[in-house]
Symmetry: C2
Subunit: 260 residues, 2 copies
DNA sequence: TAGTGGTCTAGACCACTTA
DNA sequence: AAGTGGTCTAGACCACTAG
């Protein structure tokens, strides 16, 4: 049983968060190692004088973090380090868009017949007219991201003008894409800049780049838009950690919920 | 209030899962749209005849999925689509390693003085001897991933031999890295193959590639290993979705075949 | 002040594993 | 048969938001 700490009932920190930190600390320090069994729920209940639901919630959080696994009838066991649990997010992109000096410059916006790839992805017949938008995200004069997008052309939905400024992109990350799309799929590719892309971004053709491809669907499950963000490989990378999170002594847990 | 469904107490599916599906369906169908307030917890309790904890758990899941946000004193509200909530995982790597015909071929394994980057990342003095391992992951004869790794040389820990076969890599994803490391950090870069890397992978120099860089730390918070997986950009991509997850009945059309 | 979600209690019954 | 985690109940008090 972890030593030296108990639950501080007067703390602003909920009991279940304290318990998570106690257990995670015991794992991080090697007191419980991969494969070891944690104390049973009832043991934890009596050891820390909390109710079963509180222990359950703490263990549930460790489960979500991949730190332990549970088997009904056997117990709770410390999980070994697994790369497969690592996840990457788009916070770097989001941070870029949130910066004050970042603007979007439209380099093309017109209605034209869809190419074969756009038609396939948008679920329309080859040659159907779609709205094509190309824009550069830049900080000052420095291009960061080149965005190409094709939207199904729907004259009854005049949202197009509102799609054109920076806030449209910012909203895509932060606040929602109009009220239209209900669901999106993203694919991240490694790529190398073509001549056109390199020209837009002011780099040499053949430079490393990310491509973040996206498709958005409406409530009817039909595609609304398809496009991709082409990002300088030298400016963006993705980070993740596995195992015991952040060695910083922060009491950062619990902050996962309730963003916004 | 969502219509037409109730909680089936005789189902193998827990009540809270059923409630999540009911609410998510109501959001996906547009019955509740971004910004709308969901029924309060007590309303849901009486509407579906379940206890507060069950409703709470269902809403907690929607919160984790980013589908709703909650504010104490105000209520529960449907979240708009936000790209920033998308996460990518390494399941493709994991799947590759799990395939039966995939093997690891050691192309180098020796003790040599650390270069400046390895020394810095491993936290040892420049020129300290480290174990350098380079291997190719291949399916049959086809190279998929080139892995370079440097391990701090510790004669007291003779785990080195066991690090050399396929299972060592598989375990890194699935089962854990020996019993040594406790924590790891990962960085994903977009890159372009150097001559040496291209030679190892049987591709042309300048091809697109992923580089997954990793550092593992032991219980003493000292680095144990540093290295990177260099992966063919044409074979790997990362997928994620935002908003209501893809419907069961496979309506995702062309999103699958697409590879830029 | 009324209503909301956030936390927590002290149990219960069940399915499952192990011996 | 004993012990484990998985689900669920029917409340409680609190902090916060709103009118």
């Amino acid at each position: 049983m972890p030593q030296g700490r108990g639950i501080d009932r007067s703390s602003y920190e909920p009991a279940y968060v304290q318990l998570v930190n106690i257990l995670r600390g015991a794992i991080a320090s090697g007191q419980y190692q991969a494969g070891d069994q944690l104390p049973t729920e009832s043991e934890l209940c009596s050891a820390y004088d909390v109710s079963p639901m509180t222990v359950r919630r703490a263990i549930g959080m460790l489960l979500d973090q991949g730190a332990v696994s549970t088997t009904r009838g056997r117990g709770t066991f410390v999980q070994p380090l697994r790369l497969a649990t690592a996840t990457f997010d788009l916070s770097e992109f989001h941070d870029i868009l949130a910066e004050p000096g970042v603007t979007a410059r439209i380099v093309e916006a017109r209605v034209l017949p869809a190419g074969p790839r756009a038609a396939a992805n948008l679920g329309v017949a080859d040659g159907t007219h779609v709205v094509s938008i190309r824009r550069i995200l830049q900080r000052g004069d420095k291009p960061l991201i080149y965005h190409r997008e094709s939207l199904v052309y729907d004259p009854t939905r005049p949202t197009i003008e509102s799609e054109l400024d920076v806030t449209a992109l910012r909203d895509m990350f932060e606040g929602g894409v109009g009220s239209g799309p209900k669901r999106g799929e993203l694919i991240l590719h490694a790529s190398v800049l073509t001549d056109e892309e390199a020209g837009r971004l002011g780099l040499d053709p053949g430079s490393a780049a990310w491509v973040l491809e996206h498709i958005f669907y409406g409530y009817d499950e039909k595609p609304i838009s398809w496009g991709c963000f082409i990002c300088r490989g030298d400016l963006f990378s993705f980070r993740a950690s596995v195992g015991a999170p952040a060695p910083e002594g922060e009491a950062n847990a619990g902050a996962r919920r309730n963003r916004r």
